[in-house]
């Protein structure tokens, strides 16, 4: 099995990341196109954003299969076949879902020892498995670290984890792009 490829795409809000990533994948010869959605429709605003992305996918000539997986990305592995194209959208929502998991029970992951480290390890393993399986993988994230660090410790922790994940993804990636309102800078 030929190793798959990892592409990292980041950019500001509404900079065209998803559209660019979808086009990128549709121009590859993937056996199936899978949209891995990590966002949760927690309110009407998020619902609208999700609807817009869903409509965009319907308008393409290619069919997209959507898997909603807000946490535990490893659970998609049994559903992925060799040669699939997978678009994970996005790291920022996935990280929030994992880091604050347990919040409602007053026991969030970030307060439990090694909780996020363990999730990070499983995330790395999942990416490696997908690549080994010949997946054309595209991972989207957001540029949110170009402002003063938050004064709120829980947010600082989020900023640290996000930077750490981005650095790992860029290091492991075959291609890395930064989007500015539809324009893509190829970093790698």
């Amino acid at each position: 099995m030929v190793r798959g490829t990892l592409t990292f795409i980041s950019g500001g809000v509404r900079s065209g990341k998803t559209g660019f990533a979808e086009e990128w994948l549709m121009n590859r010869s993937c056996s199936r196109l899978i949209y891995l959605a990590t966002g949760v429709a927690s309110d009407s605003e998020m619902e609208q954003r999700i609807k817009r992305h869903q409509q965009d996918r319907k308008d393409y000539k290619n069919n997209w299969l959507t898997i909603e997986q807000p946490r535990k990305i490893e659970e998609i592995l049994p559903h992925i076949r060799p040669g699939d194209g997978v678009l994970m959208d996005c790291i920022t929502t996935w990280l929030a879902n994992e880091l604050y998991e347990g919040w409602a029970m007053d026991d969030p992951c970030f307060k439990r020892e090694n909780c996020m480290e363990e999730k990070e390890r499983r995330f790395h393993e999942t990416i490696y498995s997908l690549l080994k399986n010949g997946t054309t993988l595209v991972v989207i994230s957001n540029e949110v670290l170009d402002e003063p660090l938050s004064r709120i410790p829980d947010v600082v922790l989020y900023q640290q984890w996000l930077g750490r994940l981005h650095q790992w993804l860029v290091k492991e990636s075959d291609y890395a792009y930064e989007l500015t309102y539809g324009l893509a800078k190829k970093w790698k």
């Binding site: 670290l145 170009d146 003063p148 660090l149 930077g163 981005h166 860029v170 290091k171 890395a176």
Partner: protein, 132 residues
């Protein structure tokens, strides 16, 4: 003088650390000092300049810039200097006035540092882009 800039947690220090690993280096974290220390190593790394600006927020800006540039020039007269600054001017305007002031002051100081720098390099999650 080499300057490295990038957002928070983008791997700036890790990048510079591997650059200077073989050298006689004095690593100065601005967060650790009110006033910058004397230094004389072959290479001086001055990291986190935004912390210096933050420590001196209650003084007139001109004096703070003057102090900083004077110390920087002293370092440069005897050592190779590497400066690390954190990008903090590309987010939403902060609600807290003090944070706005910090951001503005950093921007003006960074402009001066960039002007005098031989090279300016942006770090994006460990990758580099030459700006100057």
């Amino acid at each position: 003088m080499q300057v490295y800039i990038g957002g928070a947690n983008n791997g700036k220090r890790a990048y510079v650390r591997q650059l200077v690993v073989e050298r006689d280096v004095q690593w100065i974290e601005c967060a650790d000092y009110q006033d910058l220390p004397k230094a004389s190593a072959q290479t001086i790394v001055l990291a986190g300049v935004e912390a210096f600006v933050e420590h001196h927020l209650n003084r007139p800006e001109e004096l703070v810039i003057e102090d900083f540039m004077e110390t920087l020039n002293t370092y440069r007269s005897q050592s190779d200097v590497i400066v690390i600054v954190t990008e903090n001017g590309r987010g939403i305007v902060p609600i807290v006035a003090e944070t706005r002031e910090l951001r503005d002051r950093c921007g003006r100081l960074f402009q001066q540092i960039f002007k005098e720098a031989t090279n300016v390099t942006r770090i994006w999650y460990g990758l580099t882009e030459s700006l100057k």
